[in-house]
Symmetry: none
Subunit: 529 residues, 2 copies
Amino acid sequence: MPINDSFHIYDTTLRDGAQQEGLNLSVHDKLTIARHLDDLGVGFIEGGWPGANPKDTEFFKLAQTELKLKNATFVAFGATRRPGVKAADDLLLRALVDSKAAAVTLVAKSHDRHVDLALKTQLDENLAMIADSIKFLKSGGQRVFLDAEHFFDGYISNKAYALEVVRVAAEAGADVVALCDTNGGMLPDELSNIVHEVLTMSKARLGIHCHNDTGCAVANSLAAISAGVTHVQGTLNGYGERTGNADLVNIIANLELKKNKTVLPNGKLQEAFRISHAVAEITNVAPSARQPYVGTSAFAHKAGLHASAIKVDPMMYQHETPESVGNDMRMLVSEMAGRASIELKSVELGIDLGGDKNLIARVVEKVKELEGKGFTFEAADASFELLLRTEVLGKRPSFFTIEDWQTTVHQDESGKVTSKATVKIKAKGESISANGVGNGPVNAIDNALRSGLESFYPELSKLELTDYKVRILEGRLGTGAVTRVLVETSDGNGEWSTVGVHENVIAASAMALDDAVTYGLLRQGRKPE
Amino acid sequence: MPINDSFHIYDTTLRDGAQQEGLNLSVHDKLTIARHLDDLGVGFIEGGWPGANPKDTEFFKLAQTELKLKNATFVAFGATRRPGVKAADDLLLRALVDSKAAAVTLVAKSHDRHVDLALKTQLDENLAMIADSIKFLKSGGQRVFLDAEHFFDGYISNKAYALEVVRVAAEAGADVVALCDTNGGMLPDELSNIVHEVLTMSKARLGIHCHNDTGCAVANSLAAISAGVTHVQGTLNGYGERTGNADLVNIIANLELKKNKTVLPNGKLQEAFRISHAVAEITNVAPSARQPYVGTSAFAHKAGLHASAIKVDPMMYQHETPESVGNDMRMLVSEMAGRASIELKSVELGIDLGGDKNLIARVVEKVKELEGKGFTFEAADASFELLLRTEVLGKRPSFFTIEDWQTTVHQDESGKVTSKATVKIKAKGESISANGVGNGPVNAIDNALRSGLESFYPELSKLELTDYKVRILEGRLGTGAVTRVLVETSDGNGEWSTVGVHENVIAASAMALDDAVTYGLLRQGRKPE
């Protein structure tokens, strides 16, 4: 693939992103993420450190044969040669050549104190290591980027030495010198000043690599780009050590939508939501609903005041169209909601209220009444949809009735805990009694319910309870305290949330489970009785 | 409390933060969060919109009597008067007076298009609404802040009108005009330019209110402060609609640690970690491990290159000391991080550790081990104190042993739900079997336990379970998901919190109840067996 050199979007999810606590990627995971990154249209994908660990060596080997990249160029990561050896004799440098990656990024010290204390060598030897390593790799035909580690801290501590690192690297042939805020402590104003000064005093092409320790990784990256760098590094979903790296999608969206700077192939930004979430499934890191641009809440509206304005024009309360990044606008139904939000929500759910003012008023009243009792629908879309369909149809869409249930939890003297449940259900005219066990009373009822319904609805075996939240609500409107349960259920293709409220936590759970299974069957296209 | 007017730290967690999807705060939650905010040392706490909904009206009423703020001033939120009515006749404005809050924030339109389409009135009438409303409230002795909604979008669309809003508000007596990036679409450079221009063309004291839609809420707030605003609004943990508001702790830490600008009372920043997490337990929103400064990963280092450098000097790979915000460095074998806080906490609990280094190290290890399993002591002081006393005494302070328990919940055909429990206890050498019923399985176990112990400890009848929270934690260290239960108990004189963790929700609850009753007896001055 031809490299677009006007501006580099450089992804390091597979290397620096994988430093995140709790994130462990298999070689297969890395190959899948690389495909997604290529789909997004980034220019460079840093795949890992071949030679430093067997997984990364294997990844580069497999990447040669298994991946046909359409947009991106693979980059192998490594370090400058060790002190006191020739570049050609350094095994790790040779592994970078052997990786056959078209480009290599070398990390180098640019902070005098780190040369002394971490590298334990002389300042001049560090410069020689940089020059030798770059020349060695360039002579083999690889493109070479230099990551100047701790550059900003180094510049503040010893400006002359940090600048010398940039000069030496550029003269040795580095294609880009990426200035790294390794510890993430910079703020945009000072960072911007330093980038300006370096650009004034050097002819090197510069890049930027930020971490989010001050909450400014995106703003720092943008400040450096405004100052003149033409290569930006970051990770998907801001993965990375400590507080993470700069969120690359966030940077890209700001550049394309706010700065009118095209950095991805045409139409690719609209893949951002899909790719961000697909990668979160692979990493198994729960995505943040509040993530800029691609979070599920990023274009969600709750306040009643906003909703009526949004009916007039959605752009009154959103900064971009959600479609620009492949996201959706969502209306959250809550006690603050009025008619406008109910109407917008119904359209979103694909239910036609036909502008029926009485119907809409009934739904608003019902929501207010139930929220007064402790229900919450903004976090329970599926329960809200059932409520809406009940009002539209005049009766609840129903596949079964739970007539009686009982659950017992026992801890014996050895400390062993067991949970079992029995449910009596009526479905398709039949009365069924079924048992279940589980790792808790709710799980036991869930299993009993599904085992009882299985012969009628075998697809229920696909359903899985994925989250469960309980909250005690103080007495409202003169009643005693009630318990609110939120249940999240998945069928492998999607997730939905339901709510139950009762004085008794198990009864509230059973109510939420009833909604969860009913909604699950509607999703499968089953027609209610 | 005297108001420090040199720079305003203004928190809107309870109003704008509560707009977050899935976040629902009871009046009790709001009072508790207000106490934490006051502990943090913020200058202003925006409590809600009295008059607009009954919950907020009640909150302001209770806040008068139940809260003794040490640092903060309460602020009531509202809107300018409706078009075409006198300020004195506007019921919502009157409700702001009735709230008795020392300060009021009025939201006003500053974007011409919103005046036209959302407010549906004339541009001049909007200015009159602003002036009248401010004068009305000022004449009653309240301090008045104006939130200029959509200010930046408005300024870009119609600069003259946006400036007119600022001028009119200042002339009517507004103490601060807060420029709001309501839709969150700004980037620091343009925002900074606009703030500069407004400051040049106006004598008003300015504030800033940012949302995180571009991932730049913190950087935007800092840019405005650098440009000259002296009042910054934000929320704890960045809670808020869509992508959230500016994270106030993040802003404060950057100001104090990076800009050497003191904005909190001395020593308060070190409470930030504790308060951020305590509030997350109340909101029941899972905190982000990667949150700048206060995330559990914010100072965590994954093994590798960094480890050896950190052994030489931790500051080589961290931008600030974790202690500066009350956080801990993780991955270091050294127990240094935990020691100071354990010692401080013990002093606070009145337990003398006598500087015993081995004892302190054992406590640190135990806390780390249990937190690794999903326990949290941040929100469970009583469980922590029991742990501490166990290590001091060499055995757990114990009044009884629960040898076996069983609980059953049943819903019959009429819909009636019953919960009962049996416990077998050993206390004072006797074996006791006792039964209980309740409004749920946990309440039934609690009642059975207390009925069994009543003859030995009649004071147990005073104990009441006042709150109960459940959270599912994802699998850790290769294990499956576990359930964490937090229980709050009261004896009429005070409240205490305990924690239990188990695969089974009822077993986790029984564990937390065991701690709750044990701690309750210690509080009554009973000597353990």
